[in-house]
């Protein structure tokens, strides 16, 4: 039978990034790790996926992956999403890396919307695909002013936007991409993971690399780094929660749950976690 890899005719010798590109991206990654939360510009290359479809995360992964690595790619929490399958196929077929859906087996996890519920450790690199790396984009459009605000750590207008959100809606409504202070210095967009995943970025054992292909920026949260969501002292930071909701498949109520539109049925967002839960209880 003809495999898809034969059809698209990619072999490990056909690398998507040449050595110079890899070096350039690795340099940007090193700068990003050295200055946690700082957005480092990089020369985003053309990838065989459209910009905005994970091209930034893909370049970061391709710059750090090795044939001995084991790669997990998810879209939302799902290993079998079309985009996740395509990106995983691109990565493994062009580098010779192996693939897995189990986070604990993976050395590199590429994701857009989620951090896997478990399994990441100090051997793991989490690569997040970022659509909008600039946390202040919503309050300021002028690039020079944005640069000044970051340089002077002038984040008062970010606080004002949280204040306005609370005043208008009675609670902080921003769910994905919640702004966080990294290492007490830069504010980053944790885009677009849900608030549920934010606490796991704090003092994590793993390295998180953020790649924004369209915006040509890379930033990082190194292991054991303080990550604090911007929160008023008297308005506690809360993660998403639906009272009494349980996964209809594995009965979990301690994972990030999603519901089908207009349906009371909840399911785990992390499909592999859900699968392993079901195997355990069987």
């Amino acid at each position: 039978m003809t495999t898809i890899n034969e059809l698209i005719d990619i072999s490990p010798s056909d690398e998507l990034l040449d050595e110079f590109a890899k070096r350039e991206i690795r340099r940007a990654i090193l700068s990003a790790v050295a200055i946690p939360g700082y957005q480092v510009p990089f020369g985003s290359r053309e990838m065989p996926v459209a910009r905005g479809w994970g091209s930034g995360g893909l370049q970061v992964t391709l710059a750090v992956v090795h044939a001995t690595d084991c790669v997990k790619v998810i879209d939302q929490g799902d290993d079998d999403g079309v985009n996740a399958v395509n990106l995983r196929r691109l990565i493994t077929s062009s580098t010779g890396a192996s693939e897995t859906s189990v986070a604990a087996e993976a050395t590199i996890v590429q994701s857009r919307h989620r951090i896997p519920e478990d399994g990441l450790d100090d051997k793991s690199i989490l690569v997040l695909q970022v659509p909008v790396p600039e946390p202040l984009r919503g309050v300021e459009r002028d690039m020079r002013e944005l640069a000044r605000m970051h340089a002077e750590a002038d984040y008062s207008r970010m606080w004002v936007s949280l204040y306005e959100d609370k005043v208008r809606n009675g609670l902080i409504t921003q769910t994905t991409g919640y702004p966080c202070h990294v290492n007490g210095r830069y504010v980053v967009a944790t885009t677009p993971i849900p608030r549920w995943d934010i606490p796991r970025l704090h003092d994590s054992s793993f390295l998180t690399l953020f790649g924004a292909g369209r915006e040509k920026r890379i930033y990082a949260i190194p292991p054991r780094t303080e990550v604090k969501p911007l929160t008023f002292d008297d308005v506690p930071f809360e993660v998403e929660r639906a009272d009494g909701a349980r996964c209809s498949l594995c009965n979990s109520d301690d994972a990030f749950l999603v519901s089908l539109p207009n349906s009371p049925v909840w399911m785990c967002s992390d499909t592999d976690w859900c699968r392993r839960r079901r195997e355990l209880t069987r």
């Binding site: 000044r148 340089a151 002077e152 002038d154 008062s156 207008r157 606080w159 004002v160 204040y163 306005e164 609370k166 005043v167 208008r168 008023f232 002292d233 008297d234 308005v235």
Partner: protein, 294 residues
């Protein structure tokens, strides 16, 4: 208390200010290259602030004054006379070409023009506030009145939502903005109310110096009178050192005790405001006063 010094041909009253809060020395702002000859080619005697030698514009030159806590100093003159240039140099919106400005703060005396932009910005948060003629310059129009006041508060490190709300509501009450408009976007406010919100924002961190740039120019007469009343009572209440820039003598008369008259970038007369209105010496001041009294 008053000793007279010669200022050109005209006597200038200089009050011995016991405790200055802000002291400006020989402030100058020139657009283009300048030397002594270029400077000498401009000013009231030449009738222009643009040099005939090289086209440089001497927007302000040799401006010196002191302001004490609880005192308001006026800067008066027609448009183009350099008064707003002086104010913007002090506000940090423009960088002056020459001169010094010293400010007494809770952290000690600082030479404002020696600070870098980040330090200047810190000064603007809690020590020196500006009320602009155009509320759009001092406020974010697509943010609520309370949110606009929250900005300097959060910049100063306030992190309690409840305390920020309470402070904003207190300030809006004091500036007579209806409290039920606190959560409405400033864009929808009338001109007078926008200006009141801007004043509330300026007072957020209890600054020791407030600069007013034509604070009532865009407002109709009755609204302007209300805003002037408000400014005057706030200045008295908080012992703020204020600089009021205006082309309108009625504003200067109502708010200030002393004032400088500027023409073509130079100070041509400085006196107690009452004295200046009663007995203007410089011909330009006489014309201004006559126009205001007409």
């Amino acid at each position: 208390m008053t000793n007279m010094v010669e200022y050109g041909r005209y006597p200038v009253a200089r009050l011995a200010v016991p405790e200055w809060m802000l002291r400006v020395e020989k402030l100058g702002k020139v657009y283009g290259a300048h030397d002594d000859e270029v400077i000498a080619s401009t000013g009231p005697e030449s009738g222009t602030s643009k040099s005939s030698l090289n086209g440089s514009i001497v927007a302000a030159w040799d401006v010196s004054f002191e302001v004490a806590a609880g005192e308001a100093l006026g800067l008066v003159g027609e448009s183009g006379s350099g008064k707003t240039t002086v104010l913007r140099c002090l506000a940090g919106d423009l960088s002056p070409s020459v001169g010094n400005a010293r400010l007494r703060t809770s952290r000690g005396e600082v030479a404002m023009f020696d600070l870098d932009s980040a330090e200047r910005r810190l000064l603007r948060i809690d020590t020196l506030a500006v009320v602009y003629q155009d509320p759009a310059e001092g406020l974010k129009m697509n943010v609520s009145a309370g949110g606009n006041i929250a900005e300097p508060l959060t910049a100063a490190g306030w992190r309690s939502f409840g305390k920020i709300r309470a402070r904003a509501s207190d300030l809006l009450t004091r500036t007579e903005v209806p409290i039920n408009r606190m959560d409405d976007l400033v864009r929808g406010f009338s001109g007078g109310m926008k200006q009141r919100v801007q004043i509330a924002k300026a007072l957020a961190n209890s600054p020791s110096v407030v600069l007013f740039d034509e604070p009532t120019t865009g407002l109709d007469a009755s609204v302007a009178a209300g805003v002037l009343d408000l400014i005057r009572s706030l200045l008295e209440e908080h012992r703020i050192a204020a600089i009021v820039v205006s082309h309108d003598f009625s504003v200067i008369e109502m708010l200030t005790s002393r004032c400088l008259v500027m023409q073509h970038g130079r100070v041509v007369e400085s006196a107690l405001t009452d004295q200046l209105l009663e007995d203007p010496h410089h011909p330009y001041t006489q014309r201004l006063v006559a126009a205001a009294r007409a």
